[in-house]
Symmetry: C2
Subunit: 451 residues, 2 copies
């Protein structure tokens, strides 16, 4: 039997893997269609291209649509780029217009154009192609149900009845006034309990937040989170309701942004776990190459002091101590700053406060660590001045780490750039270079006391 | 005038700052109460303790409750720890039971006990104190409205009517059967449109997902996100409905977890932007101290080769090149692995695949970078074998970076520990030590070819 009702999700997944290995796609797709679309997309991710297409081909356009909703637009586009425009159009008609638009944007122009023309919902999808991906217009769904403020509760219920499938789980619907301008929201509970002849105007809420279509997606996600909204309406210049951003889409945005920040700090591009190996190289190699250049900068600094190192070889021993501590401290501050900015906690004059605070912490940590390393170096190598030089270099480097860790992202933000690209690479380089200069420079000046 | 209707949020915030600076708390609190609670908590964060308490004291318990809902439990506890138990109880009665429980857990035992006894809602709050913070029981709200499956639609509407305030924005309510066991959910839209004498049983949905009270909060957040749920019901061992986790709380959990992972990778504790300086030292100094120990390990490795470095001082110059590249590459892999685990994308055998993949990438990057640094070192210092030694050390170190970056978090997870604590500190140390051993060890073996 292909599928027994008591099979768990995990059982089904294993079953599909076995069946696919046997190239038994007919039975595999039967088991596959019993899974939740979120699990289906997960199973697909682990299969090769041929198996993916075989399983998807067995689904109805509606079923395939549910899977598409769960995939990244680039993944969906890959799966459908070799399929006819007519078939693609059927599948895209089954997904929400914002998802359809995202997939179309990823496809070759010709196919994209042809599929759009063949779609029944092309009128709803076409305008969305104009908005850029990371704006309110790019993540909103234009399928938004609204009622007029001069309707009665009974009439509003009739509107709901005619559009039941669309408002399934909705807690509220929007209210528009003259010229389709957004004027309020109506809670479904309130509507259900209202008298039949009550006016929508009298039972709606008017303190609602809306955003223009051009607003940055991160801003939208932050509004939804900050004010705990289930839906955020999007309006055009005239205040007309043109779409709605769902809280679930905002949660995806917040998660994406967190991932992006983490990856930028670590010097990763927008790499995916399951992408091609060549994509990973493209994502990481640029940073590795940049870092190589910057470590050569540090190497250059050391080479200036070769004659000093020949006299006092213990200096070479302590190079990683100076560099390592600065790098870690700088990354701590940088991470705190970048994440706080992303969470909207570092507005206006809080930036200056952070800088002051981080420099103070650098001084404090530098004193503690400087004394510690100074003592260790003194005891180990038996030279007081070696300990002194190392301690001072440590102190100086910790202060620089605070200045750079906080200052670099603040400066980048002011310049309108992404603060996360002040990646560990940059901060580490500067702490390395300054640390070596301080340590070896002082040592060279005091070289007679060190030998 | 204290407040004009056309003032923006930003105007009000500035106004409050000015008034507080003048110690004019009476007028400041008037402007303050016109703000949204989310903005109120933001304003409070920038004020000193005295001003905070003055503004809060001017609010009614209900208004203060809205502010508390927006604060971290620790922040709320700080504000109220010097206030009488009676006053505290009034405020906590105005917040949801899960928030009240979180705040009580942060207060000194005596005050906490006294306030709980004085609360009207103590019966709802007390059981929540038993659940640990990071489980479904710890983040759920026990105020969940349910209807019986053997009610009619008319009776269900009556239940809604009696509890309208509680279900304001709800899109669905839960349905229970015999012995209060959770059996389904009823969409409010569906209910609003149903015939008065329809049975709840016939119009409810039965394919709902629920979790036990002990489930980890991260798991819950992932379920909500994966299946796009608005609410996730929590049940006890007997399957009885005991509470509900709201999607907005799950979004907070996801955000917290992302922050936590980023901070752990960077070697930060659970530091807040606005905490005391001493808290920041406590959060970061342990990592700095651990890192100091580990860099001394690297220093020790170098010290074994002092005699070689004296002969070939160029070796000292290239130390940061070897160490720096390994550290960056290891952190790239580590970040990818930790984030993918957090997003639930690295289950089962995908871990092994990641390890293989990362080692392959390490080989690839190591070859490219090894050849590059080899050529640069050869051209710069005019010694072919120096280039060869540096190139081989680079290749080896990049492979180690892949092994450690992927292997360390996978191993930690298998041991039931947090994979993010395989922080950059650990990975960097191992790449440093192995890199220096390879580079200087090879150099020592070939020292006659290098001078």
């Amino acid at each position: 039997m292909a599928d027994e009702p008591e099979m768990t999700t995990e059982d089904r997944r294993e079953r599909i893997e076995v069946l696919v290995d046997d190239h038994n796609f007919a039975v595999a797709s039967e088991v596959f269609r019993a899974l939740h679309p979120a699990d289906q997309s997960d199973v697909l991710a682990d299969l090769d291209h041929e198996a993916k297409q075989a399983l998807l081909a067995a689904l109805t356009p509606e079923e395939a649509g549910h899977v598409i909703e769960q995939l990244e637009p680039t993944e969906a586009a890959e799966l459908y780029e070799n399929v006819g425009a007519a078939e693609l159009a059927q599948v895209l008609d089954a997904v929400t217009p914002d998802v359809a638009a995202d997939v179309l944007k990823q496809l070759p122009m010709g196919l994209s154009q042809e599929a759009l023309e063949a779609m029944l919902e092309s009128e709803e999808v076409a305008p969305l192609l104009a908005y850029s991906d990371d704006t309110a217009g790019g993540i909103m769904t234009p399928e938004v149900l609204s009622v007029g403020e001069d309707m009665t509760a009974a009439a509003a219920l009739d509107v709901l009845r005619l559009n039941e499938a669309q408002v399934e789980d909705a807690g509220a619907i929007f209210v528009v006034g003259d010229g389709d301008r957004l004027t309020g929201a109506l809670r479904v509970v309130r509507l259900a309990l209202a008298r039949q002849n009550a006016w929508v105007r009298d039972i709606m809420t008017t303190d609602i937040i809306s955003v223009p279509a051009e607003m940055d997606q991160e801003e939208c996600a932050r509004l939804i989170e900050r004010y705990d909204l289930a839906e955020l309406p999007v309006v055009d210049e005239a205040g007309r309701l043109i779409g709605v951003i769902l809280a679930e889409d905002a949660a995806d945005v917040a998660e994406e942004e967190a991932t992006e920040d983490m990856y930028r700090i670590a010097g990763l591009g927008d790499e995916r776990l399951r992408g091609a190996l060549s994509a990973s190289v493209r994502s990481r190699f640029p940073w590795l190459a940049v870092n190589l250049l910057t470590t050569f900068l540090a190497a250059l600094v050391i080479s200036f002091f070769e004659s000093t190192i020949v006299k006092v070889v213990a200096l070479a021993v302590f190079l990683p101590v100076v560099a390592g501590q600065g790098g870690i401290a700088g990354t701590q501050t940088l991470t705190l700053a970048v994440r706080s900015m992303a969470l909207g906690e570092l507005s206006g004059r809080r930036g200056r406060r952070l800088l002051v605070r981080e420099v103070t912490l650098g001084l404090l940590h530098g004193l503690l660590l400087g004394i510690a390393v100074g003592i260790v170096a003194f005891v180990w190598k038996g030279n007081f001045f070696l300990g002194l030089v190392l301690g001072i270099a440590m102190l100086g480097n910790m202060v620089i780490a605070g200045v750079m860790g906080a200052g670099a992202p603040l400066l980048l933000r002011r310049l309108g750039l992404d603060p996360a690209v002040a990646a560990a690479v940059v901060v580490t380089t500067i702490t390395d270079v300054v640390g070596f200069l301080l340590f070896l420079g002082l040592a060279a000046a005091l070289v007679n006391l060190l030998v």
